[in-house]
Symmetry: C2
């Protein structure tokens, strides 16, 4: 150490994480700097005696508090209270697992779960001793000995074993071990233990979202998204399945395109964060069952036909290199488990993120994307179903429909006139999902449409003139002028047609019928629902009052309705940070009941009723 460098070096074991601190810093503070949080129930006053660490080398004289907390033998071995122990020279500190704070709160808007940070992949910096006549253990055993604290049951596979003698020689025994659970996956030069990352991906039918997750903290550090390139082969799941059925190379093509899309996202995340892609060790992906199968190159086409059976329900682990995903080639891809042919890992993610799988209240989750997946949980049973909500909410099949981009009408109010706001306050170009809900809810409220959804002719009913004037009567069904030509980007009117209203009725009717069937299945009424979680890119922008007025949601007090963001993606992130949650995901996958609406004799009736508008 240079004479002008006043800092001292502290190595925390078993991670081997190293920090430099000024003399006089406590072990507690040094740990914090190294990202190792030591529990101090008493707040660091030296009174509770909980923050027990072993200063293996460089231990200072014991304090009074130390003498109270430890027997002489332990004091001699270097045991100290971390909050009282001020280091004055280079030190090596062992921090036992039971004094660490692993808890990490993963926040889902509206709900939160405590998760113990325990990722599948960990990194440990080691210094493997040379063999001697008194310690002639083999290379593998000496390496494992260094991992005894972090991974007492570490295992090594043959390729690593073969490389080990050369690696020990090359690096003088000092290097970073990458562990996947207890398996030694690879070895990296120097101390890279601070750089260990994962990526959580939500593969939607329309959009793909990726989050970079720091596996040493469990925090998401940045995110990126792309349109799912498969949209060129069909808007919705069924059209993708048809494409696969009708094209001999269709599955491979769609598989390659989603892998390429995910690799693009990985590239963007690496560039934005400065993390090398080789330091990303795991990718956790959720998606509906069809997206899951295509990503894994498993043929999903039988999902399109009754009885809609998938090939695969359970989670799959596969080497990144095998799937062509460009993280560390020895890294793992975890494709989360599905529930049924039309309820996939994204819904498992929602259930996981919201903690719906346990608890004793009645909770309803609605994840509206290109499909609408619904989950209803009680203390005894959790049921799920999928509705062909269709891409109406994403603007498809609506004459002036568009995605939520600049110029999209996102809010509509009828008072003395028809007020609309657009995204970016730009001249209106079309209407996105929330605008559509608003518009049709307002049309229903003001009698522009009757309870069956018919756009009523100009003279048929009593309505304010500003609304009456906007109805254009046609033989094929009337249109409603939402925006006059002088307020649009191209000088043409923006209309809602009778067909547009019908598309929306089909979509909202399907979701509402699903809700009603699930309630009936569990013997509940709408008033029994304690909480509603709205998830998904679209779900989070619905206005609760409008959704109720439309009849999309039952009449539930708005304060019971929470927005939970991209809960599917949050679920994917949680299983990266906490491997134990994979067992919960598997249980959810196995135990959540699936209701096949097509198989219910009461579905048609519920659907017809749900398409109508509430009085």
């Amino acid at each position: 150490m240079a004479a002008n460098d006043e800092t001292i070096k502290v190595v925390f074991q078993p991670e081997g994480r190293t920090v430099r601190i000024l003399p006089g810093t406590t072990v507690l503070e040094a740990g914090g700097k190294a990202g190792i949080i030591i529990e101090t129930p008493c707040g660091g006053k030296g009174t509770c005696g909980k923050c027990r660490v072993k200063v293996a080398t460089g231990a200072p004289q014991p304090t009074e508090a130390d003498r109270k907390a430890f027997e002489p033998g332990k004091l001699a071995a270097g045991w100290r209270l971390a909050c009282q122990c001020r280091l004055s020279k280079d030190a090596v500190v062992d921090v036992p697992g039971d004094v660490r704070r692993f808890k990490q709160k993963i926040l889902v808007d509206g709900v939160k779960r405590d998760v113990k940070l325990n990722p599948t992949f960990r990194k440990v910096f080691v210094t493997v001793p040379e063999p001697t006549l008194s310690d002639p253990r083999c290379d593998v055993d000496r390496l494992k000995g260094c991992l005894a604290g972090a991974a007492p049951d570490a295992t090594a596979q043959l390729p690593l074993i073969r490389a080990l003698p050369r690696l020990l020689d090359l690096h003088d025994g000092a290097f970073t071990v990458v562990l996947e659970n207890d398996d030694i996956v690879t070895i990296e030069k120097g101390d890279t233990s601070g750089s260990c990352h994962g990526i959580a991906v939500d593969i939607g039918t329309t959009s793909v979202v990726g989050m970079l997750v720091d596996l040493t903290t469990g925090e998401a550090t940045c995110s990126a998204s792309r349109m799912n390139p498969q949209v060129s082969r069909g808007d919705d799941v069924v059209s993708r399945l048809t494409y696969i059925r009708d094209n001999p190379n269709g599955l491979n093509e769609l598989h390659d395109s989603i892998v390429e899309c995910i690799n693009d996202i990985i590239g963007e995340l690496c560039e934005a964060s400065g993390v090398p892609c080789g330091h990303i060790y795991e990718l956790s992906a959720v998606g509906n069952t069809t997206m899951n199968h295509i990503f894994l190159n498993v043929d999903p086409q039988q999902v399109a036909q009754s009885p809609f059976a998938a090939v695969l329900r359970e989670a799959v682990n596969v080497k990144a290199a095998e799937l062509g995903v460009k993280i560390n080639p020895l890294g793992n891809v975890y494709a989360g488990p599905n529930i049924a042919g039309f309820v996939g890992g994204d819904t498992v993610g929602v259930i996981l993120a919201t903690g719906m799988f346990s608890g004793d209240t009645n909770r309803l989750a609605i994840d509206i994307g290109t499909n609408g997946e619904l989950v209803l949980a009680t203390k005894d049973r959790v049921v799920s179903c999928s509705t062909a909500a269709g891409p109406a909410f994403e603007g498809a099949r609506i004459r002036f429909g568009m995605r939520a981009a600049e110029g999209a009408i996102d809010k509509v109010i009828f008072n003395d006139t028809v007020h609309v706001t657009t995204i970016g306050n730009a001249p209106a170009r079309g209407i996105c999902g929330t605008g559509l809900i608003d518009a049709i809810a307002e049309m229903a409220r003001t009698g522009v449409i009757d309870y069956t959804g018919r756009i009523v002719g100009s003279d048929e009913a009593d309505r304010p003139d500003f609304l009456r004037r906007r109805v254009i009567e046609r033989d094929s069904g009337n249109d409603f002028v939402l925006v006059e030509s002088d307020r649009t980007h191209n000088g043409e009117q923006i209309l809602l047609s009778q067909r547009d209203v019908r598309e929306m009725q089909l979509a909202k009717g399907a979701i509402r019928a699903g809700i009603d069937i699930m309630l009936a299945e569990l013997g509940l009424e709408a008033a029994d629902i304690d909480a509603v979680y709205l998830a998904g890119a679209f779900g989070n922008f619905i206005r609760r009052s409008m959704a109720k007025r439309l009849g999309l949601l039952p009449d539930i007090p708005s304060d019971r309705i929470a927005f939970v963001g991209n809960a599917a993606g949050t679920g994917a992130k949680m299983v990266l940070a906490a491997r134990e949650l994979r067992a919960e995901a598997e249980r959810i996958s196995r135990e959540v009941e699936y209701i096949e609406l097509a198989g219910r004799p009461d579905f048609q009736e519920a659907f017809m009723t749900a398409m109508l508008f509430p009085a």
Copy 2:
């Protein structure tokens, strides 16, 4: 079924094994025919009520004994006593695990162990149902459902999952599942569940022996052996290590040659047995640590230098295809664990086969091949060591030494003359290990050599003329004429030189010194040894009295000395038949203490003493 076929078909579950029997045959007998042994403590009289099976379809009316043994609900479900239940039509019978007899005796000459048959690889014939609206489980779950009896925790990997929908379609759901532990490895057309094999290989420095093992019974069905082709690169372990050190491609070359040798043996076993190599799913290999490392292509060269540390101690599992071993490419190669650099998996095999790792008597195992490995077990500790016995016992470095082949002198007695017998009663060509031990033991007994091993000059001592005449005095040390020229294959005398005697003294001295050091380490004397196990190709032909006269063995009553055959190979076979024994092998590997003789200050003294001949 053809009208003239009187037999009925019985399917035993969960294996799905099918047999055809005559009507009136009991389930017990049918099971026996299918290789499924049902326990009948009462001898099949219907009195003990133990042989409970469920005749799922085709159950006959319950007998009186059945009515006593089962409640009405169980009777209705088809539960019957196997010994009393005579089948009259096609039937499906579930045989629970707890009524099966799995015990299998693996015989090692002189010792025996009970082993429960439970191989890593199993095969189950299944018929996977089609999905329906009321059972829309995914393909993988429906397949697993069929395996619930045999492997409730079955798992499938992505390549199999990808192929599954096509396979289900192609075979109408009926095929044989190959399980490795709980992992579904592959699927085979039709019912191949009766053909499931493994191979146990003992990789010796000089000889390689393979045994084909029927994994449905645990029996070895045939064996084959080859010379280890590596002998062209050196007789013993150290010369192989030197070859690897001195030749950049040496390791690859030796690795390829042993894999090719093993593949030759596999080919011979398949040809002799008619078993297709694709029905061999596992190969278990033991060998000394250097052989083990070379087989796995792990560089062993550091074993040659102090502190003689290996790279690898633990067992390795590797896909057969990855190692180039020509069994089923998806099959597993299990390379048994080592103990130390010079005590390998072959010794673990000896300990496993002889059951030395547990028990409360004092037992000594001596496995003499190209090296001599020794194990001494007490109820508290088990110690091992390796001695550079050298290839003297195999004929190398002995002037007229040869392997135990036709014309080799294998037995020598001095009475009124020098009697020798040769293998095949052919004219003598040379002397093999047992002949050498005999000859030198007799020379010591009759004073041809003194206690230091010197061949005494013709006139130095009082000996019968027929012996005196045979000593040829030379400046460099005397020779002894073992066979006169008229009795040899080429008309030349067969001599034992002073150097030959010294070679034998070094070999036997090393082994005896090892025994003495181990005894001292455990505080025992020779008389405390309750049993001696002689193992290995050579060990099994030693004459006990001669070995004691030579001083190779301490003076222990001959009835305590047992020959245990190729115990290393038996160990390799046992871990094939019973996967639980792999955990015992791992414990042996970890817990048996290794004594590095080179590191013992008392070794030189013990060695010098042990080279002398007993009075």
